[in-house]
């Protein structure tokens, strides 16, 4: 800190498990990924599990986190991060496996993996960034696009008659996962709470209780074509109105 002051500029504190060399990161200005990954980084730091972590990232913007952490990291295919991390954990139960993905990877192309990992109660942590659209490919409609929301492939607004309602992932996981699951939905609008959720999700895996799933409401000003104020309003109000923030499942405390 002294050094920073001497150089006359102040840098934000980085989680120790981040890889400084790859910062600043590759996400767009105003993107929520950086906030989620900071919450995740701090949770990893606090638990002191950096060396056990294998961080898996999907395709889509989450891909840009492939060298984000100073931990073992695996960048997989679109939708396939859940099975890759599942396979690792099944083969080596000592790792802390984290599958990081977007809403497309989790709720569309990889939905069968998420669903079945939940049903089987895979002892892994899945963190899913929900930004209501496919960001990397240029803002198409996603499973999480809100009713009436305009995207490249729903230019007149999402028509729920034609395309159904936004996927409620945590609700689905909570409905099918066996006892021992931890399921929550956080938001980048409340980082303290989000970090708490993610930390619990990691602890739940380490305790070997069951699947841990945290959806994070996030932002995509680039494709939403919103300024800072509008972006924040969308995350805090419109998204949170449809996607209720909070814990959906917590493992029962074992007696004795």
């Amino acid at each position: 800190m002294q050094e920073l002051k001497e150089n006359n500029h102040l840098q934000p504190a980085m989680p120790a498990c981040w890889n400084e060399e790859t910062k600043p990161h590759k996400f767009c200005p105003g993107c929520g990924h950086g906030i989620i990954l900071k919450a995740l980084g701090e949770a990893i730091d606090e638990l002191g599990v950096k060396d056990q972590v294998v961080f898996g990232c999907d395709i889509g913007c989450s891909l840009l986190s492939w060298d984000f952490f100073a931990t073992d990291s695996v960048q997989t295919h679109h939708g396939r991060t859940t099975p890759v991390i599942t396979g690792m954990k099944r083969a080596n139960r000592d790792i802390v496996g984290i599958a990081y993905m977007g809403d497309g990877g989790g709720y569309a192309i990889g939905s069968q993996h998420l669903f079945n990992a939940a049903v089987r109660g895979e002892k892994i942590t899945i963190i899913l960034c929900n930004n209501c659209n496919y960001g990397m490919t240029g803002g198409q409609m996603a499973p999480t696009t809100l009713p009436g929301m305009k995207t490249e492939t729903s230019p007149y607004g999402r028509d729920v008659e034609e395309t159904g309602y936004p996927t409620k992932g945590p609700e689905m996981v909570a409905a099918v996962a066996p006892e021992g699951a931890y399921v929550a939905r956080g938001t980048i609008a409340n980082v303290r709470q989000l970090k708490g959720f993610i930390k619990k999700a990691l602890e739940n895996q380490i305790a070997g209780n069951g699947i841990s799933f945290v959806e994070c409401l996030s932002s995509c000003p680039t494709n939403w074509r919103t300024n800072a104020k509008k972006t924040w309003e969308f995350v805090e109000k419109e998204m949170a109105q449809y996607f209720k923030v909070g814990e959906l499942r917590t493992p029962q405390v074992k007696e004795g």
Binding site: D51, H77, P83, Q112
Partner: protein
């Protein structure tokens, strides 16, 4: 928990699917991932019966995509892992296969070919030869062993794990529904007792050592040049490896006018025809690629120097044929195809086809 050790050589009489499970056990595989599809199911059935006795694991996934990718996860943690599939399942598994190609993961796939296209039959074909050898996007590399007897199924399944972990290319054992379901004798053994060393595995990620050097494994690249380098590096490794891995077998080609070219289970019919025709004094030879990739093209070219005609027979419509044509491009030898997609080829049929020439 007992260590796996097959004591001495033992002659057994079993189905090919059971052979694969025993071979995986002999190769000291840690975990199998799988999704049901005929005709490979009994590999999983036998594995799930045998595995728990030796502390081995199994995961039944939600589909073949997941079976492939969970296996890659297992392999990345340094565990010996494999999966098995067929037909449409093989199509779904290509996605994980290409990731293994790009990331140089020692994944092992056992393919028991069935009829195609689509669901077709659950019985038999050689119609997944091209898919298995070249099924990915990009130009990834993979080793493909095509077996023809239960003994080979045992030997080459063990070999596949060794090749995969030595060269770090995904490796396929290409069987078929006939081999999967038929029963014949073979000798199973402990590789160690035969002086056959099992190549040790090592974790790529997930090793819990304080202060370890973390690793990034990836398959996405930002620029053309970055990708070019990776692909060419892989190509160079492959070129250096290919002569060491390529396998074939031939018989009677030295003086043969006509050479029968087959692979996999059809080679049994070719050998049967060879015996019958040679007994009649006919100058016939047989050539069989054991590795479909790398393909023994130089060896084939050398073997047919004296031949006037080649009879290329396969239970597919021209998949082996294309490889043969590629290898022999420009050579002054007539190629006569016997193409029977999705149906078995018998010894008698090959003799008949020979007599038509």
């Amino acid at each position: 928990m007992a260590e796996v050790s097959l004591q001495g050589e033992q002659r057994v009489f079993m189905t090919g699917n059971e052979v694969v499970a025993w071979a995986a056990l002999a190769a000291k595989v840690d975990i199998m991932y799988g999704y049901p599809i005929t005709p490979q199911n009994e590999i999983m059935h036998y594995w799930t019966r045998l595995a728990p006795k030796y502390g081995k694991r199994f995961l039944q996934t939600e589909d073949e995509i997941s079976a492939g990718f969970t296996m890659l996860g297992g392999v990345m943690t340094g565990r010996k892992a494999f999966t098995a599939t067929a037909g449409p399942g093989n199509v779904l598994m290509q996605e994980s296969a290409v990731m293994a190609e790009m990331m140089r993961l020692p994944a092992v796939f056992v393919i028991q070919q069935r009829g195609g296209p689509s669901t077709a039959t659950v019985i038999y074909a050689q119609q997944e030869t091209t898919l298995t050898a070249f099924g990915g996007n990009g130009e990834g590399h993979r080793i493909v062993y095509s077996t023809s007897t239960h003994q080979e199924l045992f030997d080459y399944t063990i070999k596949a794990f060794n090749a995969a972990w030595t060269y770090r290319f995904p490796t396929f054992v290409l069987g078929d529904g006939y081999q999967a379901k038929m029963r014949e004798p073979l000798t199973i053994y402990d590789p160690g007792e035969k002086g056959l060393e099992l190549v040790p595995t090592e974790p790529m990620v997930g090793e819990n050592k304080p202060g370890k050097q973390f690793k990034y494994l990836r398959n996405t690249y930002n620029t053309e040049d970055e990708l070019y380098e990776v692909v060419m590096d892989n190509q160079r490794d492959w070129d250096a490896m290919a002569p060491k891995v390529v396998e074939w077998s031939e018989k009677g080609c030295e003086d043969a006018d006509i050479v029968l070219v087959t692979h996999g289970v059809v080679s049994r019919a070719a050998l049967g025809a060879y015996d019958l025709l040679r007994a009649q004094g006919k100058k016939v030879g047989v050539f069989r690629p054991i590795t479909i990739r790398p393909f023994p093209d130089k060896q084939l070219l050398a073997a047919v120097q004296k031949a006037k005609k080649l009879l290329v027979a396969e239970s597919a419509y021209g998949q082996l044929l294309k490889l043969v044509q590629g290898a022999l491009y420009g050579a002054p030898v007539e190629i006569v195809p016997v193409l029977r997609p999705g149906i078995g080829i018998t010894t008698e049929e090959l003799v008949e086809e020979y007599n038509k020439l």
